[in-house]
């Protein structure tokens, strides 16, 4: 089962490597990982998308919690949450027909063309993993994908629930 973990940890040298090391050392899966400092510069927030049954997830959460640098861990998938990812994708747009088609698909998915070259368009799209997958495959049917990059998932709980210190 796919899970999204949100982790708050000390923004210190080596903290990230401890998390990544833990996952590889204990053969836990990482589908994506994003990290950046929070509004409180002493803290970083990591979002990890992983896979595992309840037993494995319980171990992952406990093991992450055990790291001295970690303040909070939560499984966002346990309750209502929002997840987002950003995609930047460069596709071939050689002639009018394919340009119109690419623009049409981008519109439907509420993406934006953010750069154009002689024969290429670069498009930006945000959404959850499912939407991004659908966009990539629709585009791929229409034209050639030259390059793409995904940010990996970030997530936050819905409503009052918050992951914060104190």
């Amino acid at each position: 089962m796919r899970r999204i973990l949100a982790i708050l940890l000390e923004n210190e040298a080596g903290s990230l490597s401890r998390i990544v090391g833990l996952f590889s050392q204990r053969a836990f899966n990482i589908e994506s990982l994003t990290v950046a400092p929070t509004e409180d510069a002493s803290l970083s927030r990591i979002t990890i998308v992983t896979k595992g049954d309840d037993k494995i997830l319980e171990q992952i959460v406990k093991q992450v919690n055990k790291l001295i640098d970690v303040l909070k861990v939560t499984d966002l998938t346990e309750r209502q949450h929002v997840e987002r990812e950003i995609l930047l994708i460069k596709v071939l747009a050689m002639n009018d027909k394919s340009r119109t088609e690419v623009m049409r698909i981008t519109d439907i998915f509420r993406g934006a063309i953010i750069d154009i070259g002689k024969q290429v368009y670069t498009i930006q799209l945000t959404g959850d993993a499912e939407k991004i997958n659908a966009f990539i495959s629709t585009l791929g049917n229409e034209t050639e994908i030259i390059e793409s990059v995904r940010s990996g998932c970030v997530g936050i709980a819905r409503g009052e629930k918050a992951l914060r210190v104190k």
């Binding site: 040298a13 090391g21 037993k55 406990k62 055990k66 001295i68 970690v70 303040l71 210190v165």
Partner: protein
């Protein structure tokens, strides 16, 4: 107010001394020479010079296991630091409080593959509780204080501190300031069991008809042995110990049914298999205990008390988890038992003990005495060793058959008396660990029980022993082979003894003498007791006792691979 300023190296030593560190086990080299210079100029902290950094870690480890204090190691960058890896991993697996100070190349050279640069923080990352990179000289004392705090609280473990040379040299200086009240916002181990869980635990215990207490190293670490005995007697429950937990209850106590697991007693493993409630205290259901987890005690309700939440339901699902320090939780359990007017159900309890007596009668811990003229049985040596020391020695073991024989045949009356590498199984641990113990308790008998293979993994420390007059008694069960490997080859690999012989063994008596010690060889049964007694009577000299034992002996009982916990070979070809 003092405004005196110190170099980083001086700050290191001042911090150690402020933390009451008596001994620092280490080996010098380029990046830590400033620390050695600072050590030279003071008297508070004594540096013990080993002959290999691995031995420094095991010495610090032995010292920590025997005293409960933090063991402290100092090594230079690069090879000095990497030589510590095995010792750090050994301490990590057995939850031993240790702080390792490692040199590092100057900050400006980090990342350049400078001479003797290794990323020791990176190398040690999977085998430490925590680690620190020092990048600011003023922070050195606080980092050291935090390292000690982390190493010794919660579930203890090793902490590595990397000290770049430029921070240690006289060029930079800072005032000495070290907090005594340490608080780390991201580190707050739970010490007290949750009251609801305590209630549930007591309910399960009270309703049990066949209760077993299964206790491990956590009881030793938490100094909970006395409380444990009260609990055992209050419940009149059978108690088994893990290899790490021996001494948690006296090996002579009526309720003690022996060690459990791979080479545990039949009665211990049977009792576990038939229990309806298992109360696990500071133990972690590792694979050397459970055997096949799929077949593990299917009918038991498991109450699992541990300081480390990750240990709970990792391999075996706990029905009633209790996170907390074992001593505090036992107190809570006793209070709750009191509050609920607990009394032992005599009928159930008697039936249960009668059943256990049946298993005890098998005498699974036993061996066939030698016939006239045959070689000495290794088990017999442990019994003689027990007699010669009144059962009061610290026994520090290496890894192999001799380790299992010692665990089976030397009943430990007290916690911290049995010191061995249980989790990692590190050959070479025994001698330096014994040296660390002797350092702490110079007036006690300290034995290193070892084998002809293991002793050669840190034999160079005989030289350190001479320098510091560490009169350890080394008892080597010399079977001219890597006995435990050979046993597996006999049992699982069709008797093909691939590389399990130790050809060209040295003359250990002469070797001991060459290092300035006493060497004694024993090769017949009729001289065993007398020569051992003599060895223990020699004061202020290290004695190396080389006992030639029967190389064909196997360790029994032994769990049958992939079987349930109580499926065992009792002796060659005989199943329980």
């Amino acid at each position: 107010m003092t405004t005196e300023r110190y170099s980083g190296a001086e700050l290191v030593v001042k911090a150690l001394s402020a933390l009451n560190v008596k001994y620092l086990f280490g080996y010098p080299g380029g990046t830590v020479l400033d620390i050695y210079d600072a050590l030279f100029k003071q008297q508070d902290v004594e540096h013990i010079l080993v002959r290999h950094e691995q031995a420094a870690t095991h010495m610090a480890d032995g010292f920590a296991r025997a005293t409960g204090e933090v063991g402290v190691v100092l090594a230079t960058s690069g090879p000095g630091a990497t030589n510590c890896i095995t010792g750090i991993a050994t301490a990590y697996m057995d939850s031993i409080p240790m702080v390792v100070l490692s040199g590092q190349v100057p900050t400006g050279l980090i990342g350049d593959d400078a001479f003797q640069e290794t990323d020791i923080v990176g190398c040690s990352r999977p085998i430490i509780k925590h680690s620190f990179n020092c990048r600011d000289i003023a922070e050195i004392p606080n980092i050291i204080a935090k390292a000690f705090y982390i190493a010794s609280t919660g579930r203890p473990g090793p902490v590595v501190i990397e000290l770049p040379k430029d921070l240690l040299m006289p060029g930079q200086s800072a005032e000495f300031s070290m907090t005594t009240e340490i608080s780390i916002r991201s580190y707050n181990p739970t010490v007290k069991g949750h009251h609801r869980q305590i209630k549930k635990a007591v309910q399960a215990i009270s309703q049990a008809q066949r209760l077993v207490i299964y206790s491990g190293g956590g009881v030793i670490i938490a100094n909970a042995a006395e409380l444990l005995q009260v609990l055992v007697e209050k419940l009149n429950a059978p108690i088994t110990n893990t290899l790490m937990g021996l001494g948690g209850i006296s090996g002579l106590h009526d309720n003690f049914i022996g060690m459990l697991g791979m080479h545990g007693s039949l009665e211990a493993n049977k009792a576990m298999a038939h229990a309806d409630v298992i109360l696990a205290l500071g133990a972690r259901f590792d694979d050397r205990v459970t055997n096949n987890v799929k077949k593990f005690c299917p009918n038991a309700t498991i109450v699992h008390v541990d300081i480390d939440p990750t240990s709970i339901s990792k391999t075996i699902n706990a029905h009633i988890p209790v996170v907390g320090l074992v001593d505090i939780v036992i107190k809570q359990l006793l209070t709750e038992l009191e509050a609920t007017d607990f009394s032992v159900n005599e009928k159930d309890n008697q039936d249960w003990w009668q059943q256990i007596e049946q298993w005890r009668k098998v005498k699974s811990i036993g061996y066939e005495n030698e016939v006239k003229g045959s070689k000495i049985k290794p088990q017999r040596v442990i019994e003689a060793m027990y007699q010669a020391t009144n059962g009061e020695a610290y026994v520090c073991s290496d890894v192999g058959q001799h380790q299992m024989f010692a665990a089976q045949y030397y009943p430990f009356a007290k916690p911290r008396q049995w010191i061995n590498s249980g989790g990692l199984g590190t050959m070479g641990f025994g001698l330096p660990a014994a040296m660390g113990v002797k350092m702490a308790f110079p007036d006690s008998h300290v034995i290193c029980i070892t084998g002809d293979g293991s002793i050669q993994m840190n034999i160079q420390e005989l030289s350190t022993c001479l320098q510091y007059n560490l009169s350890v008694v080394i008892i080597s069960l010399n079977n001219r082979s890597l006995g435990m490997v050979r046993q597996w080859q006999d049992m699982v690999y069709g008797g093909r003894h691939s590389s399990s012989y130790m050809e060209s063994l040295p003359d250990f008596v002469k070797l001991a003498e060459a290092y300035g010690h006493v060497g004694i060889q024993i090769n017949s049964l009729n001289e065993l007791d007398e020569k051992l007694t003599k060895a223990f009577a020699i004061k202020n000299k290290l004695v190396f006792v080389d006992v030639l034992v029967d190389e064909k002996e196997h360790v029994y009982p032994m769990q049958i691979r992939t079987g349930a916990i109580d499926e065992m070979w009792i002796k060659k070809g005989v199943k329980a």
